[in-house]
Symmetry: C2
Subunit: 331 residues, 2 copies
């Protein structure tokens, strides 16, 4: 079994002469249009399939980093977290991979501009911003591809949070995961919009990590998932190249439903949907029936993310007044 430490040591070997006192970075959250659901390697967060995402512009995570004496000190949204907090345990285990020989701690100030742990992928932007801040602090001068690989070791989908706009995560096939990284999809499709519809906040009843594992291990429909994603990836990339919005939206919505179908056929079933989720799904279909090109996607939580074009924003917001609209390609 290849460990995370082995990957980190190989990537960072001989680097880090030009570090500084602090590191600071922002990374956007991202929402997958073709989902990452299932790992082929649990240690290195290597996925079963490729995936494709849209970044959320100014919504994401800021990370400020410096060295400190003693154990890690972690502030989340200006609140100091106790050492036993799951977020601290996870972040410290990740930071262990990069510590100086002295073993000194890191003082991390993480600020999320997106609700934490409600299926809005704050762990993706969190680990991506942390890797970028570590790079600055240690002076590794990582390429974006290397940063993507390191971010993946923290949280799979974090590897997609290093760019704005449309991003593809290549599943790769190498056992060490060196070919499993994200990169931006060249596109000047500036009219794309994604809106967050917050229906219920708060933490998830079951983490996506656990739900994903259970789905792969027990779902009666998971066998169809890899081929579904492969087909949806092809469709989405062709739709992006042609700026064919309906084709993109339809493939994204269909991919999300297929992911949730694999969850509800797990044993025991996983259903992140709440009554309000289903109400919003029907409302999206109703809006589409009325002629608005509007599609949804959903992740491991009850909330919907709506996909539409800038020209339809006004019409969409009449249907969904509380929508938080993001520009995935900020100027």
């Amino acid at each position: 079994m290849i460990t995370k430490q082995a990957i980190v040591d190989r990537l960072l070997n001989g680097r880090g002469a030009a570090g500084g006192e602090t590191g600071e970075a922002f990374a956007p959250a991202n929402i997958a249009l073709c989902k990452y659901w299932g790992k082929r390697d649990e240690t290195l967060n290597l996925p079963v399939t490729s995936s494709l995402s849209l970044s959320l512009g100014t919504l994401g995570s800021h990370c400020h980093l410096r060295r400190c004496d003693g154990p890690d000190r972690i502030l989340l949204n200006d609140e100091p977290l106790p050492p036993a907090h799951p977020f601290v345990v996870r972040a410290s285990a990740f930071l262990d991979l990069f510590r100086d020989p002295s073993g000194a701690g890191y003082a991390v100030a993480a600020t999320n501009t997106i609700p934490t742990a409600a299926g809005f992928a704050s762990s993706a932007s969190g680990f991506a911003s942390l890797v970028l801040a570590l790079d600055q602090l240690h002076g590794w001068a990582l390429t974006r591809r290397e940063a993507s690989i390191l971010a993946r070791l923290g949280s799979g989908s974090a590897c997609r949070s290093l760019w704005q706009g449309l991003v593809e995560w290549h599943a790769g096939s190498a056992p060490d995961g060196m070919d499993s990284y994200a990169e931006p999809i060249a596109s000047d499709w500036e009219a794309l919009r994604i809106g967050l519809l917050v229906l219920e906040g708060g933490p998830k009843p079951i983490s996506s990590r656990v739900a994903m594992r259970r789905t792969v291990a027990t779902s009666s429909t998971y066998a169809t998932w890899p081929a579904t994603v492969a087909a949806d990836m092809t469709t989405c990339k062709a739709a992006i190249a042609a700026k064919d919005f309906d084709r993109l939206g339809q493939a994204a919505e269909s991919n999300a439903l297929a992911m949730h179908a694999t969850m509800m056929t797990a044993q025991p079933p996983v259903l992140y949907w709440k009554p309000a989720s289903v109400a919003a799904m029907h409302q999206v279909w109703q809006a589409r029936h009325e002629g608005i090109p509007l599609y949804f996607t959903m992740d491991a939580g009850p909330n919907l993310k709506l996909i539409f074009l800038a020209s339809d924003e006004k019409a969409v917001c009449i249907h969904f007044p509380s929508l938080h609209v993001c520009i995935p390609h900020p100027a």
Copy 2:
């Protein structure tokens, strides 16, 4: 292609000397614990998989039948239906298979004791009671197996509505469907209960016939369905033999979710669930979490059917005060 008429002519050849003036029969509705979802022959209603159901006792359809001059006259719940009504069109097309050479009509008075067309399978009990009433009117002296085959020609799941209690529909493999009929599962499990939770009435947005066809033709997960049903059938039959309620309930609930998963991965997706459906699902899981052995199943509609044991009826009805409880094995 084998026609319905060919099957009817073969079955009824030389029969019918001892008919009467009227025919009258009752057939119970039935709810599948392992679902029928997908046809291998659209004309003869031959299913892709076997299925297993629980009948609803006194909930079902009464049919009173006599010959009349001119076109068919159909009363549904004491209301005369116009000749263009979809129900009349469908019933008359079925009656065409059995008409006397004179071509005279039938006067049919159908009474449903169960809400029509809200996913409560009134077409199953309707066609089963119609076949039994036709048998009496024409004096064919059908065996139950023959009646099951004829009822299937009207509506697939009608072949299961000729018995109370637990019923298995054998998928069969013959092109003429003569091995595709239902029969009761021998069981003295009198404590089984099924409750109807009516969340929304009214007709379905899409008929199960159309939804089934779309699923088979386009669903990305349908390929897994036959093996899922086969496994669930084996589990259910073993659970029935052992009177292992949790095993039966878990397999039934899982089978229903798998069926709905195949629908939501159709193109375009089919989602019969409403907000209240999902609220009720979570409520069932909550009740189970509290220790009540309670499971649900769902068909092509927004309503839930709850499965439990007589000893838990009181506890179940505290959670679901509006539940209509049926005894599948009436004394």
